[in-house]
């Protein structure tokens, strides 16, 4: 899990994935036949494998949700815009880091002592919030930050409970870590790994990566919604922690390809690997643009359930991550043995 620790803590808000890319590129150097970075910043790691087997694209996105500085007030406080889908309600009382120098800052809120009755029933909107870096005025703030700077949550990776992990950006550094493991393993299938950019702002990286790779088949590895928590009815939970990797059925951008889905289910059942279906159709992922690339690509998604994604702190279970990897290996072996969707 050391790879995931490093990947979780490094900043990589959508549009600013360079630091994540460098970590992965260095780790992949000796495991690849070819490494490319395209115009958008996607990192393509290629293992050519056997020419008789179908070319498999496996994608995981490097970017995470975050904020961007939009304006510096006279007081030296920073106004910001959200990058990707963030619930305003998770932002007050948060520690953040600003810009490439990772300047520490805080999103505070009005003290309870100053509030009017009923104020706590009102949601504070993000355009009323600001980041305080402790600067005494605009001039001092401008010495270390500027509008356009990306902002990420300052969250430490940590193990907790029974085999669970806590950290930021498991969506989708969990997928990145799985893809790294897959590239290190012994496979014959031509493996075209795409560590994509800008997923959180509209699945932008995967679209061009898929065009470039021209795959026969595609898998997307995700850290997905999991709401097996109080106040959420069973049918609204999407996935549950500890029940294995989640197979997507449909979301706002694609249906899982029926043949690919059947193949994944068969691989799981024949190898007694626990799995579940993602029981929500909300959101979209890189499988959308990949499946529509060129004349169309059979694609499916294998996800690690992560509680509290798109907030400063998410929680996942190691066993789901590991069972996801087992499922991927089994599926790839089936392709080597002749499985076609």
């Amino acid at each position: 899990m050391t790879a995931l620790r490093e990947l979780s803590e490094v900043p990589g808000v959508a549009g600013d994935e360079g630091k994540v890319r460098e970590i992965i590129r260095q780790q992949m150097q000796e495991h690849a036949d070819e490494i490319r970075v395209d115009a958008l910043g996607n990192l393509l790691v290629i293992r050519r494998g056997s020419p008789d087997l179908p070319r498999l694209m496996v994608a995981a996105h490097m970017d995470e949700v975050g904020l961007m500085v939009s304006h510096i007030d006279k007081s030296g406080c920073l106004r910001f815009k959200k990058v990707g889908g963030i619930d305003d309600r998770v932002l007050p009382s948060t520690a953040v880091r600003v810009g490439c120098k990772q300047v520490p800052g805080a999103i505070g809120s009005k003290p309870v002592h100053q509030q009017k009755p009923g104020e706590q029933n009102k949601v504070i909107e993000s355009d009323k919030m600001y980041i305080d870096i402790g600067a005494s005025g605009k001039e001092e703030a401008e010495r270390s930050v500027s509008p356009g700077d990306y902002v990420h949550f300052a969250t430490e990776f940590e193990e907790m409970g029974d085999g669970r992990l806590k950290g930021k950006a498991f969506d989708d550094r969990a997928g990145c870590a799985q893809l790294i493991e897959l590239l290190r393993s012994d496979v014959e299938v031509p493996l075209y790994a795409a560590f994509t950019v800008q997923e959180e702002v509209g699945l932008r990286g995967a679209q061009v990566a898929a065009w470039e790779i021209e795959p026969d088949l595609a898998l997307v590895l995700e850290g997905t919604t999991c709401a097996d928590v109080p106040e959420v009815e069973d049918h609204g939970q999407s996935t549950a922690l500890g029940e294995g990797p989640a197979l997507g059925l449909m979301d706002r951008t694609s249906f899982a390809h029926p043949g690919m889905l059947r193949g994944l289910i068969r691989a799981a059942e024949e190898n007694s690997i626990p799995y579940q279906f993602r029981r929500s159709t909300a959101g979209g992922n890189d499988a959308g643009p990949i499946s529509l690339s060129r004349g169309g690509v059979p694609a499916a998604t294998v996800s690690t359930p992560c509680r509290y994604i798109h907030s400063p702190v998410s929680v996942m279970k190691k066993s789901d991550f590991e069972n996801g990897l087992r499922l991927l290996s089994a599926f790839l072996q089936d392709i080597e043995r002749g499985f076609r969707p």
Binding site: R89, S93, V123, P230
Partner: protein, 359 residues
Amino acid sequence: MSELLETVTGRDFLREICTAAGVSGAEDSLGDLVEKRFAPFIDDARRDVMGNVIMRRRGSGADPPILMLAAHMDEIGLVVTEVDKRGFLRFAPIGGVDPRNLLAGEVEVLGEENLPGVIGVKPPHLISPDERTRAIKMEDMYIDVGLDEESARAKVQVGDPVAFRRETFALAGDRLAGKAMDDRAGVAALYAAAQKLASLRLEADVYFVATVQEEVGLRGAVTSTYDIMPDAGIAVDVTMASAPGIPSSIDAEIGKGPALTQGANIHPRMHRRLREISERERIPHQQEIEPGHSGTDAWSMQVTQSGVPTAVVSIPLRYMHTTVEMLSESDITNSGVLMAYFAASIDRGFLEGFYDSST
């Protein structure tokens, strides 16, 4: 004063006590830490039945006046009210907690062993547009400690206190942010005062008191003041500082020195002495007006037994009762130095003035 005892810098002391857990009513281990760090600068220490840490530095006077300097060491937090069927913990607040600051926050459940936990939140993908505009009530929130029901029940009891988690972090200039600055900043100011007093001539007996249960009703100050029965007392606590979105009536600013409070809770002679000493020693200071309840331990202190002349030294603080309470380190040091000089200035003559009708 023993040379063998370890001393730490003011900043290290502040970081150490802010990161430690000490929710109101559960300040014991924090009290041990405070007592250990103050040891090089005091003559004796004791704990009272409430858990107040009462530390004395003896003066040289034959019949020394008694001065009490108090800061509360407790912090706001939560308490476990239920362990549910899937191991999630329900909770209630201890002290003034705005539920809107809690979502996706990190906590530490203080049971048999301390467990890290997270206050959960639904992902935005699964939230309806209507839901987004509603603030979530505390009773609908839960703590996730990553355990199933059986393991959670084995490790967590209803009634276990829960502390917020946040490492103190440095910002621009000498500014710092973190949890529990309210009022560990005050405890750090006492530490700075104790350090400074080591080099000053002192007539009075000075009691440094780290009080408990301030956040739930200024309770520790009630028993500790009764016990010490000082001739004069100062509470050092944080005060609201100006920040964007805060009413302009709040005009204390971080980094501009301790705010010297004026109002019914402050004896005019005490205030005047503090102001004179600030000017004499060129300690930056500001004025704060609080006609009624000062919201500090001085409110309890003032009406102990037959009454105590009190003052309030305030450290300006932004984002009070969040996990990113922000202040300027110089305000802590200046508050400490001011209290040290004040203590060194106290003699019998000063005390007699309190009962002079011409004050």
